[in-house]
């Protein structure tokens, strides 16, 4: 009965656009969106570089990146916490328990995923396409840009996967954000806290929004893969 009661109250919160729910959801989207955007800006060129350059240890590097796909979120949280804690090497930035720290954590978390999937997206572009571009007089960067465009659906899919992992993780956001109400409280940390406090309704409402985001992402991915 408690679940049913919580569910109906959650629907109420959603249809009435409860300001607290909307603020938390909005903060989640902004933090994870920013992480995803910044991570993409770093990882897409870096992935191109790794893919197009031949160097020693390339295979080992790619294997390492793929291993880090499964990196536990709390491990990233711990790393950022140690780095940015008051006594840590980057403590002078004083950004621990702010959205900035959360964004940094999420960038670290999703970068391996973005790198790995972008590299495999680029590998999907045949040698012949690259040769054709070279033949037609493309310079180094022009070739890289063309190959990124050739693989654009697969690259975009990688970006979407990165966003999905960022918005759904809780460990890192909790550890480096601290779940401070009105500042660093995002959907996942709120669900975790409110549920343990017994406020099932808010958790369910946020859970539904998270699932909706997941659904939208899924539809977008399916659309892309059908192209």
């Amino acid at each position: 009965m408690e679940i049913w009661d919580g569910f109906t109250r959650a629907i109420e919160l959603l249809v009435s656009f409860d300001p607290e729910v909307m603020r938390i959801a909005g903060r989640s989207l902004i933090i994870s969106g920013t992480s995803c955007l910044l991570a993409s800006l770093i990882c897409l060129p870096l992935a191109s570089l790794i893919h197009f350059r031949q160097f020693r240890g390339k295979r080992a590097l790619i294997s390492t990146i793929q291993t880090l796909f499964a990196m536990p979120t709390v491990l990233v949280g711990l790393f950022v916490l140690v780095l940015f804690s008051r006594v840590g090497p980057l403590g002078f930035f004083r950004i621990l328990f702010t959205p900035y720290a959360m964004v940094i954590g999420q960038i670290l978390l999703i970068s391996p995923l973005l790198l790995g999937f972008t590299i495999s997206a680029l590998s999907g572009v045949s040698r012949e396409i690259i040769d054709t571009a070279t033949s037609l007089g493309a310079g180094g960067f022009q070739t890289i840009w063309l190959v990124l465009r050739e693989a654009r659906y697969a690259v975009l899919a990688a970006v979407i996967m990165g966003f999905a992992r960022a918005i759904s993780e809780v460990g890192c956001a909790m550890m480096v954000g601290g779940n401070i109400r009105g500042a660093t409280r995002v959907m996942t940390t709120a669900i975790s806290l409110e549920a343990s406090k017994g406020d099932i309704a808010l958790s369910i409402a946020l859970g539904i929004i998270l699932l909706l985001v997941a659904l939208i992402i899924n539809i977008a991915l399916n659309r892309l893969q059908q192209r």
């Binding site: 045949s126 012949e128 396409i129 040769d131 054709t132 571009a133 070279t134 033949s135 037609l136 007089g137 493309a138 310079g139 022009q142 063309l146 465009r149 050739e150």
Partner: protein, 362 residues
């Protein structure tokens, strides 16, 4: 004037030699055909000329300039050359963007690009296809996009690698017409690789035969098809009658060759005692029911051993002391009522016989 010069080019893939000491020069405005079977190294040679690959040894000269092994100059030279690959590789972009990309990479102004692309689309007959994704096109259409994409750059050199290998006969004809049109209109220098010797014969002003990584013979179509330099080339260019013999007499350039006890007259300067291959193109042999008076020096009574029909032609295998193959039209085969076991007279001129030296090792 020599535009492209290849000297002593040798190349290996994983230790396996694919090109051996290739020397080749192509004049400006020439249409050069590289013919050879699959795996002879044609594509590799084109890739090296397009500066996509650096040869293991040897030099490439373009317009008198020696090409360095790396550096910016390669890109500059490459931008004067275009390469149409065997399988048309269109980018996953619109037809317009496909054709415009090379111009954009060269930093051409936008309005100039628009007019150039429009013009070339018209030339290859793809007007109205601008916004179609090039990946949705048929093989023939994609090959035309590839051709347009290269032609719009107005290259000095066009390299074509089996441009019609994957196409149906109608598309093949279209592409061949376009190639000829380009060759005459723009005086573009072309090197075309093909395993189809007839295509080479039809389109090219000069032909090179590439066999097993070696450029065995270069010359015009008549040289290659009627005077192949060795047995391998003879085989490849369709000399189906290659008979081993020995020269037994030579009377001022008219040699008599003994083949399994039968004497054949041929034009040759080889001396008596020389081991030779005697080559006769099957279409140069005339078959008749009775021994007609003819200026041809070689006339033999023969027995038909086998008849096969291929398209408009009939292949007649005959035995006149040695085995030969003759090609006659279907109509004359019917008129002569050719049948296996029947007796015919086979006639061919001494000039139709091509003599190749047979080395002891062969």
């Amino acid at each position: 004037m020599t535009l492209i010069k290849v000297t002593g080019v040798t190349h290996k893939y994983d230790g396996r030699p694919v090109l051996q000491n290739i020397n080749l020069s192509v004049d400006r405005g020439d249409m050069f055909a590289l013919i050879g079977p699959t795996g002879a190294g044609k594509t590799t040679l084109l890739r090296i000329v397009d500066l996509l690959e650096v040869p293991g040894a040897g030099e490439i000269y373009f317009d008198g300039v020696r090409i360095p092994q790396s550096g910016k100059q390669r890109l500059e030279i490459r931008r004067r050359i275009s390469f149409i690959h065997q399988k048309p590789q269109v980018f996953n972009l619109s037809v317009y963007d496909n054709i415009a990309c090379g111009l954009r990479w060269r930093g051409i102004e936008k309005n100039k690009i628009v007019s150039k692309v429009d013009h070339i689309l018209e030339m290859v007959g793809l007007e109205g296809y601008e916004s179609r994704n090039a990946r949705t096109l048929s093989g023939g259409e994609a090959q035309r996009v590839a051709l347009a994409r290269s032609m719009v750059l107005e290259p000095e050199v066009l390299l074509l690698d089996e441009p019609t290998a994957n196409l149906d006969p109608v598309s093949t004809t279209k592409i061949e017409q376009l190639i000829q049109q380009i060759a005459t209109q723009r005086n573009t220098t072309m090197i075309m690789a093909t395993h189809d010797m007839h295509q080479g014969q039809q389109l090219a002003s000069r032909i090179g035969v590439l066999l097993g990584g070696e450029l065995i013979q270069t010359g015009n179509a008549t040289d290659i098809f009627h005077s192949p330099q060795n047995e391998q080339v003879a085989h490849f260019v369709g000399m189906e009658n290659i008979l081993e013999g020995v020269i037994v007499a030579n009377d001022e350039g008219i040699a008599t060759v003994n083949i399994d006890g039968v004497a054949i007259q041929a034009i040759s300067s080889y001396p008596v005692g020389k081991q030779v291959y005697t080559c006769i193109r099957p279409e140069d042999i005339t078959l008749a029911l009775s021994s007609t008076k003819s200026s041809a020096r070689n006339c033999f009574q023969a027995k038909i051993t086998r008849i096969t029909f291929i398209g408009p032609l009939t292949r007649v295998e005959i035995d006149c002391g040695f085995r030969m193959l003759a090609l006659v039209t279907k109509i004359s085969a019917a008129e002569l009522n050719l049948q296996a076991g029947a007796k015919v007279h086979a006639t061919f001129k001494a000039t139709a016989v091509h003599i190749i030296e047979r080395k002891a090792s062969q």
